[in-house]
Symmetry: C2
Subunit: 521 residues, 2 copies
């Protein structure tokens, strides 16, 4: 319950504002008024993103015996997306308003509402009122009037004329109408979400290629090359991180749904249960394994378990080839939303690529002495969504009681990002208590330089110590080191921990080793 | 001189072949016959690429006090590329053959040659020979005949007819003609190298955006956001790594010139010399600093100095805004080629973005008490080109003399990648001498697992020990650890170093710490 209560305190606006203020995330192309659905990671955000990616790579590749990494091209042969089904099926249903706004909508995002039809009657010439050939659909006359003023008056050139809005009797009906201008909506059409470009010097249709909408297909088409060169037997996985692009109609909720985003995907190739020997894990067991493993990863890096849950897709909604799909959902400030998907993709992708490429991608199983196409379990995470979850979960505001941290006994508020130390953008900040004392400055810089040999540390002397602590709290820096006047006497410095705000005195010649232990332990 | 001699031994084909054989680099979309100008990095290559990028980030961001990192969008507002000059000037001159091949060429890549004009005379009807309205330009009649047979006969529907090829007297001239079909070439037209795509649900010209051809502009447009949030004074730099795209007409030389590639760029914002106080480094001094710093970086990570050189662009060939540009060239197997460029960009980019965005990007200098636009020094490196240089420089073949490494006294050849330990894809490989002895297998796996906590280690038991050593040599693994039968007795293992092939016996309980020291020292 406590978790829930805390969650409801954090709004997306609070996070967006912190991100902009502290150089974590800026709107893309900000100085040009922005480019919808894109974001730029600033100095602090770039480090956070690197850390999230490295934490994933560490857990998914480095620490394991059974996973290889790859890094494949964003531009793939167009046949890849025909084989994968993206050309045909990777679509959203779209419809347009027939009203003057011409706005476009995801058809499945527009609710059915009960509206009445209103018509416009030009009564400028009282003697000869004229009903115009225009319809406005709205729940009330008041709403119809708003639509008229916002859109129709100007579009129809009715400024300066006297116009009455009249409800057409018996027109009240339930259907889909534009919530922006009261226009009728067209039938839904399928709109492909892949971005395309033209490769090569000649603009011919044959040179049309797509920017990948997922990193997974780059793994599938390299499956046999990677397996053979790495001399792998089943089961084993191939992991990849990288940018993907989707032409989302309505990018929204900050970095939650964007048109350019970064993925962390792993395809785990395993034996179908029927080929497993006694004691070998079947495909369904691997599916269970990865569901759990991925949930634990978020907990390992600091997400509160109460803010995570599984959503198992109902069997009847699965793709024909899937034997199970589970989303890991996170309680974002906007509600429970997908953070990562774990899908049992059967042998669909490899089979499709076999058919379309003509290459044999079957696995020869020496134990069963037969060939078959491996089954695939796919944990697919988004770097940006993970970052947003880590930021939201780590955010807290606290009242700091009197007397602490040189604030002169006043109560004050502090914002803290309680990030896991492996994710914290800056690991340690070093300050001289007085910037006009060269020996303090020099000592502080020396400590920072020594720390920088193995981790991301900063030196700062641009404010009073209390303020410097607050700045580091806001970006989640686990440790601050202060060199004060006493340091020259006792050859020791103060190390202050972020969450407890506890300060310990550590000898100068041991402070780097001390922090190394704290950070890498 | 020794370096030069060694260099000439390594051909690009040798590297390409190693890369494919050992899972370093595959052609992009390989199973679909490839996609020109794209490459996929396999299990070993993905780690090498990560290491090159991390080594750069470490030197350029982590270890320094004056550089911030960012990670900006690949898709930028189209106005960015108008401001930067890319829309107008980022072009190659192209021309087309008027002959039947319709081939397209980089106009500046086609040499002027002396050719004569040939015409075709249809002599099927001896009594009425007919000269066709077609011209073929070739240095010799033999060549003109080849062109005719390859292209014209079919294109003009002349199969089965008797055709004479006649040189037109007095037509011999020096000019540019298609080397493929002898057609005249059209005048050169400027062809923009940026790839474009359409963002948003409606295909309108306003939604046309470009895939960035360089990461630098993402830095410039975030300059003020990054500077302000990081509270920076001049001089300081902003660094970024990421993918860029150029629609190269003729991608070639493996990963040297591709259509999709990865960059590592840093923009260093500094005071123009005239505003520098006594003792402050001027822009030209920073230019010198970064030229040298970047050269040293390649040497730090193992490139032989003899294979590196500066090429200073002559003053008269510089852009109007540049005060100097130097390439760091590497002696690739294809000759000396640009590895990295260091450019003094003056205040061109920020000034352009000020004008086009209407945002004030001037710096207020508290010392000089005035505003000005900073100067920028840009070291711009390519990840793929750097990888290729590291691979070529590290490659060597050696004859291993008799008696070594369990090869039974025979002479044999070994291929070694003498990569710097920080770049090596695998840091340590652990083998059991006998895979049918569970205690050896278990011990080896335990060591590998302990190593994997902090570095990229592998366990392998799929071949005899000599072969396992060779495999690791080929991908540059600095250390191999063998658990043998004696290990159970003396509680020690053999650690074998890649370059010297020397073996030392290390106690089991110290081997992980020993390797940690060797790798991180």
């Amino acid at each position: 319950m406590a978790d829930k209560l805390q969650r409801s305190d954090v709004t997306l606006d609070t996070i967006v504002s912190l991100c902009k203020r502290r150089g974590i995330i800026f709107p893309g192309s900000d100085i040009y008024g922005g480019l919808q659905g894109t974001f730029d990671y600033g100095p602090v955000g770039a480090e956070l993103k690197r850390n999230v990616k490295n934490a994933w790579w560490r857990s998914m590749v480095q620490e394991r015996f059974d996973i290889e990494g790859v890094d494949t091209s964003l531009l793939l042969h167009p046949a890849v997306w025909t084989a994968s089904g993206h050309v045909e099926n990777f679509t959203d249903p779209l419809c347009d308003s027939l009203g003057p706004s011409r706005k476009r909508y995801r058809a499945d995002h527009i609710e059915e509402t009960e509206c009445a039809k209103f018509v416009l009657v030009d009564v400028t010439d009282n003697a000869a009122p004229k009903t115009l050939d225009t319809e406005i659909w709205a729940p009330t006359k008041k709403k119809a009037k708003e639509f008229f003023q916002q859109w129709y008056e100007k579009a129809l050139g009715l400024e300066g004329r006297r116009v009455k809005i009249e409800e057409v009797e018996g027109s009240r009906t339930t259907g889909r109408f534009s919530p922006d201008d009261g226009g009728r909506l067209t039938e839904a059409r399928q709109f492909n979400l892949m971005l395309s470009t033209t490769l090569g010097p000649v603009e011919e249709s044959s040179a049309k290629v797509f920017l990948r909408p997922e990193t997974a297909q780059g793994i599938f088409i390299n499956y046999e090359n990677a397996r053979a060169t790495a001399r792998r037997k089943l089961p084993f996985g191939i992991a990849q991180q990288g940018k993907s692009f989707r032409n989302e109609i309505t990018p929204r909720n900050f970095i939650f749904r964007t048109r350019e985003f970064e993925q962390m995907e792993m395809e785990f190739f395993c034996k179908p249960g029927e080929f497993c020997k006694e004691g070998e894990q079947s495909d369904m067991e691997w599916f269970e394994f990865w569901r759990n493993e991925r949930l634990q990863w978020y907990i390992r890096y600091g997400i509160q378990p109460a803010n995570l849950r599984f959503y198992d897709h109902p069997k009847e909604k699965l793709s024909h080839y899937s034997r199970g799909t589970t989303d890991i959902e996170y309680l974002y400030p906007i509600g429970w939303q997908e953070l990562e998907g774990i899908a049992h993709r059967g042998n669909f992708d490899l089979t499709q690529h076999m058919e379309h490429s003509g290459k044999d991608l079957r696995y020869f199983d020496p134990d069963a002495n037969t060939h078959y196409v491996p089954y695939v379990i796919e944990p697919a995470a988004g770097v940006d969504r993970a970052m947003l979850a880590f930021l939201c979960d780590a955010y807290r505001e606290e009242i700091v009681t009197s007397g602490e941290e040189g604030e002169g006994g006043k109560e004050s508020r502090r914002v803290v990002l309680g990030l896991h130390k492996d994710l914290a953008p800056v690991k340690a900040a070093v300050f001289p208590l007085l910037k006009n004392r060269p020996e303090l400055v020099e000592t502080a810089k020396k400590i920072a330089a020594d720390l920088k040999r193995f981790t991301n540390a900063v030196y700062d002397d641009t404010a009073a110590i209390g303020k410097l602590y607050r700045r580091q709290d806001e970006i989640g820096t686990p440790f601050c080191v202060t060199v004060d006047v006493d340091s020259m006497e006792d050859q020791a410095v103060t190390v202050r921990e972020r969450d407890s705000m506890q300060q310990v005195r550590i000898p100068l010649d041991r402070v780097v080793a001390y922090l190394r232990d704290q950070l890498q332990g």
